[in-house]
């Protein structure tokens, strides 16, 4: 899978692309940890834009959970957005969409984290 990172004023946006499975999870986790730490301290918020994410396995779900916890500890707002139906189903089934901030699109996610930060 490919992972792009965009640094915006309000948030760092992580954009994974492809399949987030057992093999891809460790690299994804490292990239998100780097984004959470930030070059000059933690960002205000981290958003994972899942528009290009085709599949998430249980090992991939774990990364979202670990990230949510780490963000909470670092007082960084955290949100996901733009889940494809197949990925959304995994989040619903596992109960993750009830405990994580899952938004329809990036605009909604940015609005959510800026509201949470203020």
């Amino acid at each position: 899978m490919k992972i792009a990172i965009e640094t915006l004023a309000m948030a760092t946006v992580v954009v994974p692309e492809g399949r987030l499975d057992f093999g891809a999870a460790p690299d994804f986790q490292r990239q998100i940890e780097t984004a959470l730490a930030g070059a000059n301290g933690p960002p205000k918020a981290v958003i994972i834009d899942c528009a290009g994410l085709d599949y998430v396995s249980s090992a991939g779900l774990r990364v979202f959970l670990v990230t949510a916890r780490a963000a909470q500890r670092a007082s960084v707002s955290f949100a996901l957005c733009s889940l494809k139906p197949a990925v959304r189903e995994v989040f619903d089934l596992s109960g993750f969409s009830r405990v994580l901030a899952v938004l329809a699109d990036r605009r909604a996610a940015l609005a959510q984290v800026s509201q949470a930060a203020s």
């Binding site: 499975d21 396995s57 774990r62 089934l93 596992s94 405990v99």
Partner: protein
């Protein structure tokens, strides 16, 4: 001194010249390398000077320097030639060997014809052959030594790997052994299960738990990830659930308590999806709760498929205070229930298509009316046929429960 001890073997004591020969010619090391470089340098210098001497306008001092150089070369070569004879174990063999003759030819003209035999000095180039041969020899010896060291290290690695593999095999056997091999004997009910790990150790598990008053607990679970960490977490989760199942009648309460226990002992931040149901054999009532697991399918005797998709709770081990609502379904004679992990629905073929719930439902609907063992076989066979040669990426586990008239 005992009479049987052998006398010490006669030892050859090297004289100073022999020691010098040994140091400069035989034993590999800095002295031998330096001496060899000196010889090569002198060969090149003396051959190059042949041409220089032909220059007619060469000043007198240059001619004298070249003559001096030739004398030095002859002295060093003669010294080396004598040392080689000293170092050789079979001296005549050396003298009449190719390199022995070349060495001799490179100095002999001087002694026979004096300094004028300059063109014969070109013969010295032949001596470079010896140096090249020697270097090839050293290179070969170095390669052989490195190969030997590498082979030794490889053998050690293989040994270590074999040990790890053997230990993993034992761990896997233990893991398989804690899973029930047979469904508890219950009038009218039959069950079968299959677990196919993707790696040696598996993060999936299923369980049949015999509860009070003849009730039976059925579990299907999937730990995030694979391998040893997932297997450990699986063992902890299974033990906790069995413990809670003995104390709490409602499946939802069992999951809630198991979840709390797992959250308290979860250093790796793993989690487990878990479906847990309790069967009341006399009435056929099945009560269930779901912690983020794929909902099971119920095949009615008429062939229709129902999904046990009552609202569930979060996966277990993620957050401590989660509630898991209880649901209830009435089984009837002839019904089949399949519990499975996503290793089945997410099994991919070489075109990267997933087996999916539709194929599972279709297979279950078409061939789900047999004995549980044959239904399990049929589904596994269908998944394997779909995946073809594509590698199995996730653990596959399923159980089938049947209620037929006793």
């Amino acid at each position: 001194m005992s009479a049987t001890s052998a006398p010490a073997p006669p030892q050859h004591v090297m004289g100073p010249v022999e020691r010098l020969a040994d140091l400069l010619l035989v034993r590999p090391g800095p002295y031998a390398r330096a001496f060899e470089s000196l010889i090569v340098g002198l060969i090149v210098l003396s051959v190059a000077s042949i041409g220089v001497q032909e220059i007619p306008t060469l000043p007198g001092w240059a001619t004298r320097a070249l003559r001096m150089e030739e004398v030095v070369v002859i002295v060093v070569f003669s010294f080396e030639y004598l040392l080689r004879i000293v170092a050789a174990t079979r001296k005549f063999a050396f003298i009449f060997s190719f390199s022995g003759l070349v060495d001799l030819l490179s100095i002999a003209p001087f002694f026979l014809l004096g300094l004028d035999a300059r063109w014969l000095r070109a013969l010295r180039l032949l001596r470079l052959l010896r140096v090249l041969k020697l270097q090839t020899h050293i290179l070969e010896a170095t390669v052989a030594e490195r190969t030997r060291v590498l082979a030794e290290k490889n053998a050690l690695l293989e040994q270590a790997q074999a040990q790890i593999r053997a230990e993993l095999e034992v761990a896997r056997a233990l893991q398989m052994a804690i899973l029930p091999a047979t469904f508890p004997a219950t009038s009218g009910y039959a069950g079968a299960a299959r677990m196919i790990p993707a790696t040696t150790m598996c993060g999936d598990f299923y369980d049949f738990i015999e509860l009070s008053q003849g009730r039976i607990g059925l579990v299907m679970a999937d730990v995030s990830g694979h391998g040893v960490p997932a297997a450990f977490f699986m063992a902890v989760a299974r033990t906790n659930l069995r413990d809670m199942a003995a104390h709490h009648a409602e499946p939802g309460a069992c999951l809630a308590h198991t979840n709390r226990a797992l959250c308290a002992q979860n250093p790796l931040e793993l989690f487990v999806t878990m479906f847990y149901c309790v069967l009341e054999p006399t009435t056929g009532v099945l009560r269930y709760a779901n912690g983020g697991h794929n909902p099971p399918y119920l095949r009615r005797v008429a062939g229709t498929i129902e999904v046990l998709n009552g609202a569930g709770g979060l996966v277990l081990g993620a957050m401590p205070d989660v509630e898991y609502p209880d649901h209830e379904v009435q089984l009837r004679h002839g019904d089949r229930l399949v519990l499975y992990t996503d290793g089945i629905t997410e099994a991919c073929n070489s075109a990267d298509e997933a087996y999916g719930t539709e194929r599972l439902v279709a297979e279950f609907q078409a061939h789900g009316d047999g004995a549980p063992g044959s239904v399990v076989d049929g589904i596994c066979h269908s998944v394997a046929a779909f995946a073809g040669t594509a590698p199995q990426s996730d653990d596959i586990t399923l159980t089938v429960l049947a209620w037929d008239r006793p």
